[in-house]
Amino acid sequence: MTTTLYTSDHEWLAIDGDIATVGITDYAQQQLGDVVFVELPKVGRSLKKAEAAAVVESVKAASDVYAPVTGEVLEANEALAAEPALVNSDAQGAAWFFKIRMADKSELGSLMDEAAYKAHTA
């Protein structure tokens, strides 16, 4: 069963066992505007929670995407390199950024569920 959690930095995590698929929320892509470039973490990289893991750039500006949890990058979504605009069209689906094997699932305790995130962005 997959659970989706959210960070206050506007990332989403789809949790499946020890593996989290991470992306930015639809709210975040709306705020950023047209995405023209995405830089993804290398597969195998160890990320610490809150470390800059990826970069998403609009015409106007570059924004960091932070690792929402500690762990090892298992996969990066290469489709975003070829088609950054996917982030605008399907932020919470096809435009996932990376998959991470979580080192400490207790870190999930500080994240928000969908209702709490909706309240956060209201």
């Binding site: 505007g33 470039f37 830089e39 609009s58 015409v59 106007k60």
Partner: protein, 382 residues
């Protein structure tokens, strides 16, 4: 988000309410609350301007009249030549020229447009510099000129291949104007100053309109389906693709016009050996740069990859070099090129087209090359 107090102290242009009603995303810029984009977004606004016509509110910029006390515009022109390295005397009535106010060190205090309106000069200066510019003019030209701040006027830019047709419907004289023509015209029955110029690399017009009529004129222009409102975001990406300098970024008090690759804007009459050589602030240094070259130069830069290289990125001669050789002063993504574009300063010996350099972005050295500007061919009506 700015604190409520900051929000309150921001100035508004005469089109502020219209921007809000059009869904403009308002941000602080040069002391004004300005639209950075509309619901279409920066990318579509940029591409629409290059394909059809974009309408920009640039009312935050300063508009000034220099009226000669003698009644002869040539006297105002001669007086203004004390502050700029341009030939102002040679600007014919109904014509406009790009200029810079320089300082004693040869740096640039601001860049501006100067038009000859027959009996006076009309100046358009940058928003962030306008108070200082007006004080500068009063300090140096008050004996010869009456300096009028035209704060009761808005300024609208209409830019793109369909700008001429859109304006022709409201202004019969618009189509016969050529690039850098400027003068009084009636637009939709309103007495305006119109110039055929802009800041996008596209053919287009800038329309100075009394503040009280600005919203009516803008709404009339926007009734044309070819015309969309464009925010500051696309204004910046358009001017960057056009290779045009942004004051405070690509030029400032520490860059001379020669270092900034603006030699084309300084006429021969003001250079060494010219009929009115020198006589402007910093002439010694600027003319020495003309005569002997400057040690650094503003260049265009194209990246090999897709990652935008932005303002502040350090430039290196090779991938392993320890010391930077220069810095990016403007950079981002060029929607019409579908690729990153930048400009910055490099040593003159590394400024030749095609020179390979590296920019440091997030700890990585990204390859780029010195490239010709404009990055996108301009379409001025000469």
């Amino acid at each position: 988000m700015p604190a409520p107090d900051d929000q309150k102290s921001l100035r508004q242009t005469p089109l502020h309410a219209l921007h809000v009603s059009l869904g403009g995303k308002m941000v602080p810029f040069a002391g004004y609350d300005m639209p950075v984009q509309y619901p279409a977004g920066v990318l579509k606004e940029h591409l629409h301007t290059r394909a059809a016509a974009g309408l920009f509110d640039v009312s935050h910029m300063g508009q000034l009249a220099l009226r000669p006390k003698s009644g002869k515009v040539a006297d105002a022109a001669r007086a203004l030549e004390r502050l700029v390295p341009q030939d102002i005397v040679a600007i014919a009535p109904g014509r406009q020229r790009y200029a810079q106010f320089t300082n004693a060190d040869g740096g640039i205090l601001d860049d501006l447009m100067v038009a000859n309106f027959g009996d006076h000069l009309f100046l358009v200066v940058n928003a962030a510099c306008k108070d200082a510019d007006e004080a500068h003019l009063r300090a140096h030209l008050a004996d010869d000129c009456v300096i009028d701040s035209l704060a009761d006027r808005a300024l609208i830019a209409l830019q793109g291949p369909k700008a001429e047709a859109a304006l022709a419907k409201l202004c019969a004289g618009a189509p016969s104007m050529t690039f850098m023509d400027a003068g009084p015209h009636e637009v939709a029955g309103i007495k305006c100053f119109v110039s055929r110029s802009g800041y996008t690399g596209e053919d287009g017009f800038e329309i100075s309109v009394p503040a009280a009529d600005a919203e009516r004129l803008t709404r009339t222009l926007l009734e044309n389906p070819d015309v969309l409102p464009i925010g500051l975001g696309a204004r910046d990406s358009l001017r960057l693709e056009a290779g045009l300098c942004l004051y405070g970024h690509d030029i400032d008090t520490a860059t001379t016009p020669v270092e900034a690759a603006l030699e084309w804007s300084v006429q021969k009459s003001r250079r060494s050996g010219g009929v009115r050589a020198g006589g402007f602030p910093g002439a010694e240094k600027i003319l020495a740069h003309f005569d002997n070259g400057a040690s650094r130069r503003r260049v265009g830069l194209r990246a090999e990859g897709r990652a935008p290289v932005r303002e502040g990125a350090l430039l290196f001669a090779d991938e392993a070099a320890g010391e930077p050789i220069g810095k990016v002063t403007s950079g981002g993504f060029g929607p019409s090129l579908n690729a990153p574009v930048a400009m910055g300063y490099v040593p003159t010996n590394l400024s030749a087209l095609g020179t390979k350099l590296f920019a440091e972005v997030r700890g990585q050295r990204l390859p780029l090359a010195v490239a010709a500007m404009p990055f996108v061919k301009n379409t001025y009506k000469r």
